[in-house]
């Protein structure tokens, strides 16, 4: 193992430690602590906000930029899949329908 391998190994192990520490930061200590009630009420909206923050840029942006053309398979597949998810409450169906619309359109439009 040369120096470069060691650098990569240490870097990756550090990333693992960070996955642990960042995700348990508020429960590393078990000392008594109560979240302010307004924050508790506000954070009830956090899970859906986080999902939307991950999904919407993924669907709307083209290579991280504002869309320049509307012939984008995602712009058709995502709303139809969302409607299906809402109507049928069906995860597998949503993924299958969404991909069934997305893949051919993407092949066609490029």
């Amino acid at each position: 193992m040369d120096g470069h391998d060691l650098y990569l190994l240490v870097a990756v192990l550090g990333l693992v430690v960070l996955s642990v520490v960042c995700r348990s930061a508020f429960f590393l200590s078990d000392r008594e602590w109560a979240m302010p009630s307004w924050l508790q009420a506000g954070l009830r909206h956090a899970p859906m906000a986080a999902l939307a923050a991950v999904v919407l840029p993924e669907v709307l942006l083209q290579q991280g930029q504002w869309p320049t053309h509307l012939a984008d398979a995602r712009f058709v597949a995502a709303p139809l899949a969302a409607l299906w998810a809402w109507w049928r409450k069906d995860m597998m169906g949503t993924i299958i329908l969404g991909m069934a619309i997305f893949l051919p359109l993407k092949a066609w439009w490029g």
């Binding site: 190994l9 550090g14 642990v20 960042c22 840029p57």
Partner: protein
């Protein structure tokens, strides 16, 4: 809806045969922050046999096809990035954070100083720190080593599912295993599925063209969760504004757009809650 997602639960919790509504517990907690009894030791078999463990597994399994497509693409991207295959494979099964490891790849290739790589990952992981504040209630009774393991396993979807189902429940403890059992049932599936799929992505990168756009399945899975798990119109509206904010702020460094968007969503949600309360009081 036999094969569908579980929609928002009525906020009633059957706890040791005693039915409490979430408003009651919330008031109770506000008045006297009470420490749940700690675990002296963890009874894994009781946790595993708990009906909520099976429930957590079932709900996670429904999301896995989308998440595994995402993991596959993450593995492919890392394998094709120019990193040695052993590094891509090691990251696939150990780091367990797609956005952090993808942000680290160009820095590793450039030979950036370790502190730059780690600081970047810490910023990218910042949203999980917010999540940990909400998970604390159910985790704090565990011994430290299990708290650390639970933290490691708290990826986006396990967090979302656990908080949606058990966020209003009384804190987990030796007398209330349900939230931890549900979490355990989900994370076992999520970690295994994600890691194996990411590893497969590393291995089969040469055979799977990136142009297929398989990663879109991951976006579809999260979209389905978003549509079906929003507890009310206000949460959904706050999420849409948060998504718009994320799109507008996408250019922020270190993927901070996610944290900024969550903050926007929380503020919008609180404002809408306030309006809705004011209108109800006005109606009375």
């Amino acid at each position: 809806m036999p094969h569908g997602l579980t929609a928002a639960k009525p906020r009633l919790w059957l706890d040791n045969g005693r039915v409490t509504s979430s408003t009651e517990t919330a008031d109770h907690c506000d008045a006297r922050p009470e420490l749940a009894p700690r675990f002296a030791s963890l009874d894994w078999s009781a946790l595993w046999r708990h009906p909520e463990r099976a429930q957590g597994t079932r709900e996670m399994v429904r999301v896995m096809p989308g998440l595994m497509a995402w993991a596959l693409v993450t593995g492919m991207v890392m394998a094709k990035s120019g990193l040695p295959t052993w590094v891509a494979a090691l990251m696939a099964v150990s780091v367990f954070a797609a956005s952090a490891q993808l942000s680290a790849v160009p820095l590793l290739l450039a030979g950036a100083p370790l502190w730059v790589i780690w600081l970047t990952a810490a910023c990218v992981n910042l949203r999980f720190t917010i999540f940990s504040a909400q998970m604390r209630k159910h985790m704090v009774a565990l011994p430290l080593r299990w708290r650390l393991l639970a933290g490691y396993l708290t990826a986006d979807v396990p967090y979302v599912l656990t908080v949606q189902r058990h966020g209003d429940a009384p804190p987990a403890g030796p007398d209330n295993l349900a939230p931890l059992a549900y979490f355990l049932g989900g994370v076992v599936v999520n970690w295994t599925g994600w890691s194996l799929s990411a590893l497969a992505g590393v291995w089969f990168a040469a055979w799977i063209p990136a142009s297929w756009g398989l990663g879109f399945a991951g976006a579809l899975a999260l979209l389905a969760l978003l549509v079906n798990l929003s507890k009310d119109g206000r949460t959904f509206a706050a999420a849409v504004v948060a998504g718009a904010a994320a799109t507008a702020l996408f250019g922020l460094p270190y993927k901070l757009y996610i944290v900024a968007a969550v903050a926007v969503g929380v503020v919008v949600g609180l404002t809408l809650d306030g309006w809705s309360r004011a209108r109800q009081e006005g109606d009375l």
